[in-house]
């Protein structure tokens, strides 16, 4: 299993502004626990958390695609937790 980033930045101009950040994280155990406590299954909880995380990108999609993308995401991740 690899999760890598290879960000190449070539800045040849002093007046340019370039920002970069990268983070890696897990789906929080306590977030899942919080959802479980409220009767949301772990699978559903992961779907919710991941969809929230991707919202920034999904907001860029046209409406019908955004709906499809959310469903797709949930299906793709089936069986990845638990």
């Amino acid at each position: 299993m690899w999760r890598d980033t290879f960000p190449y930045l070539e800045v040849n101009n002093r007046t340019a502004t370039v920002e970069h950040e990268a983070t890696t994280s897990k789906v929080g155990e306590d977030q899942i626990f919080y959802c479980n406590q409220r009767g949301i299954s772990t699978e559903d909880a992961v779907g919710l958390i991941v969809n929230g995380y991707c919202k920034e990108v999904f907001n860029q999609l046209p409406m019908e695609f955004a709906v499809e993308a959310q469903k797709l995401l949930a299906i793709s991740l089936e069986g990845s937790v638990g």
């Binding site: 370039v18 970069h20 992961v46 695609f65 793709s76």
Partner: protein, 380 residues
């Protein structure tokens, strides 16, 4: 070996075997396009497969790929009711009814099934505005001057291994031209499907947005379950003139292989746009959930002053899927600006890499916001 049999042997083992003349003749292509394919092919033969991506797969036998496959029946349709019931059933299974799409969403669909566009809808209403939206092969016949001018202008045949292969053997794809000052009133959409076993799909998409125009283009992909590996090496080119805006959205959910990593699509795609004029804008949005291997870097060349490039991506990998994806933003013009937001979600034994380049040339000064985020799903 006699001179004659040697000649036949050479021919059988070289370009003819790849079916260039076959594809070209079948599509009734002009001589210059055949020459273009052959140039690309000759160049491709001198290239080696890239090994730098963070993905692993068995050696591909490029001779073993069927480079052209068309639906058995060539049908000319007057209405959607005449659509082949089998093809219709495929659409229904996938939950996409063309009529529904047509009526509800107001989306013109250019359905690509096994490389040949079966049906293009909404052409007439688009044509009223001067918008050309057709299959690539039709555009070659009807608008050869545009194809000749823009084909390979953003992704030349020398660009990379898979782009060269695509340039040589591309079967069909979509062509879109938005004339000066026209705002395309609907989202243009192409559904790509891979239907017959062992068929390599080499789609070619070319989008040209003339001065001050706007278009939003959707590309959605689904493929039926299948056992063997399928290679898909598409090329997408976007050419944006002064003040033009192009928004390109992809949802990709090709067969990712089963839980043990068997089967699935190899998705080796070259996508690039150029903001050729001042104040042009190109925006890529992609949601990548399928394919056993994804190798894809939708990029923007920011050549015009004040041009803007955007890249929004979600890449999901599970089980044994592999993804090496990201973008390139090449800043050439003054005050150019780019934004990159990349999210990766990985579960199972999958590999998921972000690979990106932001290059700022000496003559350009600009603001660039660059943000890359990774996310991991833990297996318990």
């Amino acid at each position: 070996m006699t001179e004659d049999s040697k000649l036949i042997n050479d021919v059988a083992n070289s370009e003819y075997k790849w079916g260039f003349r076959f594809i070209s003749a079948k599509k009734n292509e002009p001589e210059w396009l055949l020459e273009w394919r052959l140039r690309a092919f000759r160049h491709w033969q001198t290239m080696t497969e890239p090994k730098w991506p963070n993905v692993h797969y068995p050696v591909i036998d490029f001779q073993d790929i069927i480079y052209y496959s068309a639906p058995k029946k060539q049908i000319v349709l007057n209405s959607l009711d005449e659509l082949d019931p089998e093809i219709k059933a495929t659409f229904d299974k996938l939950g996409i009814s063309l009529e529904e799409q047509k009526r509800l969403a107001g989306v013109a669909v250019d359905a690509v099934i096994d490389s040949v566009s079966v049906k293009t809808t909404f052409r007439e209403s688009l044509a009223e505005l001067g918008i050309i939206f057709s299959s690539f092969s039709e555009a070659v016949q009807e608008h050869p001057e545009l194809i000749k001018k823009y084909l390979g202008s953003v992704v030349p045949h020398t660009d990379n291994f898979y782009a060269a292969l695509n340039s040589a053997v591309f079967s069909d794809g979509s062509f879109c031209y938005i004339p000066k000052g026209v705002r395309c009133p609907m989202e243009l959409s192409t559904y790509f499907r891979i239907n017959s076993a062992g068929t390599g799909q080499f789609e070619r998409t070319l989008i040209v947005a003339d001065e001050g125009s706007f278009v939003s283009y959707l590309e959605g992909c689904t493929a039926p379950m299948r056992d063997e590996n399928q290679l898909h090496a598409a090329v997408v080119e976007i050419y944006a003139h002064t003040d033009a805006q192009v928004k390109y959205s992809t949802v990709q959910n090709w067969y990712p292989g089963d839980k043990n990593g068997k089967g699935g699509i190899y998705n080796f795609v070259t996508k690039r746009g150029i903001c050729a004029g001042n104040n042009a804008k190109i925006s890529w949005t992609q949601v990548e959930t399928g394919s056993s291997i994804t190798w894809k870097y939708p990029s923007v060349i920011l050549k015009g002053d004040n041009s803007v490039g955007e890249f929004y991506s979600v890449a999901v990998t599970n089980n044994y899927q592999q993804a090496d994806t990201g973008t390139k933003m090449i800043h050439l013009g003054k005050n150019t600006k780019s934004t990159i937001i990349s999210k990766g979600i990985s579960g199972g034994h999958s590999n998921n890499s972000y690979r990106g380049l932001v290059r700022i040339s000496p003559q350009s000064n600009k603001r660039t916001k660059f943000l890359s985020v990774r996310f991991i799903l833990a297996r318990r």
